[in-house]
Amino acid sequence: MSLLGVEDVFTAYGKIEALKGVSLEVAPGSITCLLGPNGAGKTTLMMSIAGILKPKRGRIVFDGTDIAGRAPHAIVGRGVALVPENRLVFPGMSVRENLLAGAYQRGDKAAIEEDIERMFGRFPRLKERAAQFAGTLSGGEQQMLAVARALMSRPKLLLMDEPSLGLAPLVVEEIFRIVADLHKDGATIFLVEQNAHMALKVAHHFYLIEQGRISFSGTPGALAEDEVIRRAYLGSSRA
């Protein structure tokens, strides 16, 4: 059974439909990756799952419950955390406070402190900058903080919207190493990525979204063999 099932979801901005009947599944314990060109609806889908946007139609079944149209904080409470595009840390709050904000719905103070220490173990750079305003961090550090903040809610499903966007290649590698580590520790991750090469190294299943519809679903092997996708996303020079 899948952890997340998106079933025939339509989401519109006013009269403009960004998602035109999207269906996909995320298996528990997997890394699933959504590819697609700009404006295809990747971020719209992420925001629909997280509750920021309300789908007009369709179901979003998470852990057996339809969460479509619920309030964002209620969806976080059910165990879905989104690392948003462009990170969106709280710039005027310290790194530590950003992490506390991520755990806002939890009442277990002692366990929250333990989790903060665990995040500092996983992201040593954040520990060094614990008291610093998040706005003063580099782009890569902010991305790590955004991931750590999302993990602080102890999600069953981690959504990541283009975590490599605007980061230097070395930092991108580090981010994907973190994604792989999280998966090793049992996390389920649903990832939006433009960087198909990096995604191929970690993801177990791929979807391609074009103009608001899913146009491809398959394993990394099938993705690499698909002529059209290879040309568009992996560069035709690669065999």
Partner: protein, 289 residues
């Protein structure tokens, strides 16, 4: 020299009430990015409720203060539901105009309940002012200052030490990310509004007790002084709101002494105009922390 010192003292006391009003305005502006013109009238209504209780019962000052704070908070919640909850994503102007309409409504409500133009309000302290050498101090002023300091301290504790403070500051900082962190933004709006109204209600009670009277014009006064002090301190900054309130009080006390009561308000507006026109840095940046 003594006059200068006395004016400065009076200005600080006056300014401490403005600082509380500006803090309330700033909280609302910070989390909602909306100007709430009905803030002052809601406080006025709280003062009227306390006056009504005073006229119809022998309630003591503490009970009256509680009535003022409670009714201002209720009126504030009403304003939030009607003006700001429906326009969260929409136009800031629509919310502001709606709050202006509620201003009129709250003023009508007050004058329907208590139709005379002026009603007496019990003083905090009936006795003579304290004297320190050539300086005189009204007990009311000391209470006002003490209350302002206590309100600032309580607010600081809530915002920087309590769990709820994380939610308020997160919503001010980055509302989109706040909801992704599991913070209920509508609930934070509502509670912040209530908190701002409670501070305003306390300030209103102290002002009414130090004037020893209430009039429906109090609403306009609270809104104008609070807005002015908030803008002087830089939109959205809490320490700035306190500084702006004190600065406004000092400015008014001194200009009243040197230039007369007519010039008092004029000077404050002129200063605001000059600061806005000169684009001083702290007025054009918006931060709340």
């Amino acid at each position: 020299m003594i006059d200068l010192a006395q004016n400065t003292l009076d200005g600080l006391f006056l300014g401490s009430s403005y600082a509380m009003l500006a803090l309330g305005f700033t909280l609302i502006f910070g989390v909602l990015r909306r100007v709430n013109l009905a803030y002052g009238p809601a406080i006025m209504l709280g003062c009227y409720a306390a006056t009504w209780v005073h006229l119809n019962s022998g309630a003591g000052l503490l009970a009256l203060a509680a009535v003022a704070v409670l009714c201002t908070t209720l009126a504030g919640a009403y304003v939030e539901r009607l003006c700001f909850a429906p326009h969260r994503q929409g136009s800031a102007i629509a919310a502001m105009v709606a709050s202006f309409a509620l201003w009129m409504q709250l003023e009508e409500l007050a004058t329907l309940a208590l139709p005379r133009h002026i009603y007496p309000f019990p003083p905090l302290h009936g006795g003579t002012p304290l004297e320190f050498g050539a300086l005189t101090l009204r007990v009311e002023s000391l209470v006002m200052l003490g209350a302002a300091v206590a309100a600032c301290a309580a607010l600081w504790w809530i915002l920087y030490r309590a769990r709820f403070g994380i939610a308020v500051r997160a919503v001010i900082d980055q509302p989109g990310a706040a909801q992704l962190a599991g913070i209920s933004v509508p609930r934070t709006f509502m509670l912040t509004f209530a908190m701002a109204s409670a501070i305003g209600g306390l300030a209103g009670f102290l002002v009414a007790a130090s004037h020893e009277q209430v009039t429906p014009m109090l609403g306009m006064m609270f809104t104008l002084k609070g807005l002015l002090a908030m803008m002087l301190g830089g939109l959205g900054s809490l320490p700035g709101a306190v500084a702006g309130g004190l600065a406004l009080g000092l400015l008014e006390a001194h200009s009243q002494w040197f230039l007369g009561p007519q010039a008092r308000d004029l000077i404050a507006y002129a200063l605001l105009f000059i600061l806005l026109a000169a684009r001083v840095p702290w007025m054009t940046t918006r931060s709340a922390s």
